[in-house]
């Protein structure tokens, strides 16, 4: 079995986001970037499946600028065998990423595609489902447990009401939740070895898909600051206000 894992390079989750003054976006220059956190879970799961002898090869793919290579290298350091960087600059919307990944899937013919459930930058939560749709593959989103069976996967999904278990046939797309597993560290010896693993670069324009953005970003601004309310003088007053004014109890 072959697993393709999509990984995205995003602003590190510890970095405080700063909105540009001119409203054109957020500051990304000289900002620490990392792998989108649930994508680490996706790689980890693929590696676990491979370690259990159920998969032969793991290919990590990213769509982005030249520097997104680092993200693929990190995936290689924790156990992916091969990497692909699809070079694309500027905004690449989830639909476009899905179309690019479709081409990669056609070329690589993986049995499974693992991805993160959501990227922490644009918070779109779309790419996996879109890829599943255009490939006409089944999808298992928000996976918190994956069992590989013969020809099918049994996937436990984290949904609003609790947990739901579904069975999807292979090939399929799985998007991973943070609770799926605990990603391992990239150890120094493995990082050294990862430098020697193959990393193919493809230009998005060679793939013949339309990746022009369809959504115009008019402006990005800071969320409005919360204002202080009032001070109440007693517990009685507080309860009255909560009941009659705020109507929350």
């Amino acid at each position: 079995m072959k697993i393709l894992v999509a990984v995205k390079r995003v602003i590190d989750y510890n970095v405080q986001i700063r909105v540009k003054e001119d409203g054109s976006g957020v500051v990304t220059d000289n900002v620490k970037m990392s792998t989108n956190p649930p994508d680490d879970n996706a790689i980890e799961e693929a590696v676990k499946i491979k370690e259990a002898g159920k998969a032969k090869e793991i290919v990590a793919v990213t769509v982005g600028e030249e520097k997104a290579q680092e993200t693929v290298r990190k995936a290689l350091a924790v156990g992916a065998d091969r990497g692909i960087l699809v070079k694309a600059s500027g905004t690449v919307e989830p639909l476009a990423v899905a179309k690019i990944l479709q081409k990669i899937v056609e070329k690589e013919k993986p049995d499974l595609v693992f991805m993160g459930k959501q990227a922490i930058d644009d918070d779109c939560n779309q790419t996996g489902q879109m890829l599943a749709a255009i490939l006409n593959w089944p999808q298992a989103t928000f996976a918190s447990k994956i069992e590989v069976k013969e020809k099918v996967l049994e996937v436990t999904r984290e949904v609003d009401e609790g947990l739901e278990t579904i069975e999807v046939s292979i090939p399929s797309i799985v998007t991973c939740d943070l609770r799926l597993n605990e990603p391992r560290y990239a150890s120094l010896p493995n990082i050294m070895k990862a430098k020697k693993k193959p990393l193919e670069q493809i230009d998005a324009s060679e793939l013949g898909v339309d990746i022009k953005p369809r959504i115009e970003q008019i402006k990005v601004e800071e969320p409005p600051k919360r204002k202080a309310g009032i001070k109440v003088s007693s517990v009685e007053e507080l309860v009255q206000k909560l009941k009659n004014e705020a109507k929350v109890i």
Binding site: D12, Q16, K32, P189
Partner: protein, 539 residues
């Protein structure tokens, strides 16, 4: 699990200006050498904090074509000011009366972190392997006692030091020569200085704590290229320190404050002095309609030539601020750190090629312009132990009239941890509450640093005696860790009527002040799990 081993010709600990310059120079001398750099930050630059007004002398020698290589050195200094601050007033010192070393017209206002990122690209282009996120935590020695290399930190230990599922042992890196370039108060450098007695016959080392904030200010107040320094208020005459304000590109200013860690009053809070300083009318006017976008702090090394340890030992060299090459009157250490790294590279090249002893490092260093600079600067810092006014008068004579050539050398008498007076004998200081516009508290400041450490790992701030803070330091000095730590890592909490010493190690921004100032040297800073600590952008 045993540790994997990797052999290199040269292993460099620390990806700051000194370590990166050493790596580049080595590759220029011999492209065949296998060189790697370990850096504890999650990426190069993320733990670098500096002013920074940059003198290009070392870079001109290292990469003479830097102007054509898209370097982040853009803003030339165009104007200078020096102010003495009184409580409300200020008095401007004519720049022609500034000592030459404090004049900056050929220098540039840069972000040192960005310069390091760029130097790292140059180094990688030459084939240097750089591994960010991997602190060197242990020095390895050969049987003959010489330095063999280092080991990186184990990862995946829990807070009791037990292995978690994710445990990964550290790795050993062996080298023909190891260069320690950890910057000010490197924790391995500290061990080497002790083990090889490198500071024998030298004065105790001197340190300062430096703060820096980046502000985005209004067009009207911004004057790209302006460099301004102040002395005086809010510090008293007995406390050594001053501020800097550098107007960089993109309407940003780098606003900072440095306080000598030889201060005496345990109630003094360097963080709050810096915050208070910003309320002075001649400072406030620049920032009051601006926005603070970054914050950070880092110790700097100020002892100069009198305190500079021997920088070579069997199998290893110390470079840059890990040794102490900063020029205090200039408040510049980047160019000297770089040059010391380059000299180290030349030394190693000759050592490997011609079997010369590493001791030639000292000869080369003493013949270089770095030594000349540091020698001329040597009397400035100690003279300030007489107080600000006498210090200034002396410095004027020493630097302007005699140009550092006075026939004597003033000594540093005390280490910084020895200078605190008893809390009861010193005045308490009432710092104003932050207004969240120009002054802020510690928690909202650390927020801007992007600092984090993985939870459930061993505390990286070790107490030699865990009871000392409450039983002794609290009584005698009112536990000054609560004050000197710039981000509130140390707290004394009252729990059920008794005091408890709390260490919020996750907040630590790796400034090393506690390791320096703790009066009993009871706190030892060690490396936390890789990638932890601040995530500075263009500091």
């Amino acid at each position: 699990m045993s540790r994997e081993v990797m052999e290199y010709d040269v292993v460099i600990i620390g990806g700051g200006p000194s370590g990166l310059s050493a790596a580049i120079k080595l590759k220029q001398l011999n492209a065949e050498l296998n060189i790697c750099i370990l850096e504890k930050a999650s990426e190069i630059g993320a733990h670098i904090l500096s002013g920074n007004v940059f003198e290009t002398r070392a870079l001109d020698e290292l990469l003479p074509k830097w102007r054509d290589l898209n370097s982040p050195i853009k803003t030339k200094v165009s104007k200078e000011k020096f102010l003495f601050l009184g409580k409300k007033k200020s008095f401007s010192w004519p720049t022609w009366l500034l000592p030459k070393v404090q004049q900056n017209h050929n220098n540039y206002i840069i972000s040192l972190a960005n310069l390091c990122r760029w130097l790292a690209e140059q180094a990688e282009g030459l084939g240097v392997e750089i591994f960010p996120g991997f602190p060197a935590s242990e020095i390895l020695y050969n049987d003959d006692g010489s330095v063999k290399g280092v080991a990186t930190q184990d990862m995946g230990l829990d807070k009791n030091g037990e292995k978690k599922d994710s445990y990964e042992p550290g790795m050993e890196l062996h080298a023909k020569v190891t260069i320690f370039a950890e910057g000010c108060r490197g924790h391995l450098g500290k061990e080497l200085i002790k083990k090889f007695d490198l500071n024998k016959g030298k004065d105790p080392q001197q340190y300062g704590i430096g703060f820096k904030e980046i502000w985005e200010i209004t067009e009207e107040q911004h004057q790209e290229g302006l460099v301004m320094h102040t002395a005086g208020w809010p510090l008293d005459n007995q406390t050594y320190g001053g501020s800097f304000m550098y107007h960089a590109e993109n309407k940003q200013i780098f606003l900072g404050y440095v306080i000598g860690l030889d201060y005496k009053n345990p109630h003094l809070s360097p963080f709050d002095e810096f915050q208070r300083f910003k309320t002075h009318p001649s400072i406030k006017k620049y920032i009051e309609n601006g926005k603070r976008i970054s914050f950070g702090a880092r110790a700097l090394i100020e002892g100069g030539i009198q305190s500079l340890p021997r920088m070579y030992m069997p199998g290893a060299l110390l470079v840059g601020c890990d040794a102490g090459t900063l020029n205090m009157p200039k408040i510049k250490g980047s160019h000297t750190a770089m040059k010391s790294g380059m000299i180290a590279a030349e030394t190693i090249f000759e050592h490997l090629n011609q079997q010369k002893d590493l001791a030639i490092y000292e000869e080369k260093f003493n013949k270089s312009w770095v030594y000349e600079e540091l020698y001329a600067a040597r009397n400035v810092k100690p003279s300030f132990s007489w107080g600000l006014l006498l210090g200034i008068i002396f410095t004027g004579l020493d630097q302007i009239i005699f140009r550092g050539k006075l026939p004597f050398t003033l000594r540093h008498k005390h280490a910084d941890h020895e200078t605190l007076k008893d809390a009861k004998d010193m005045p308490k200081i009432d710092y104003p509450k932050p207004d969240n516009k120009i002054t802020f508290d510690k928690t909202s400041s650390v927020y801007l640093t992007g600092t984090n450490h993985a939870e459930n790992q061993p505390v990286h701030l070790r107490l030699k005696d865990p009871n000392l803070p409450i039983n002794y330091t609290l009584k005698k000095y009112d536990e000054p860790a609560q004050k000197y730590c710039p981000v509130g890592v140390y707290e004394v909490q009252i729990v059920n009527g008794s005091s408890k010493f709390v260490i919020n190690s996750q907040n630590c921004i790796h400034c090393k002040t506690c390791d320096i100032k703790e009066p009993s040297q009871n706190i030892t800073w060690v490396t936390p799990e890789g990638g932890g600590g601040p995530k500075y952008g263009n500091m």
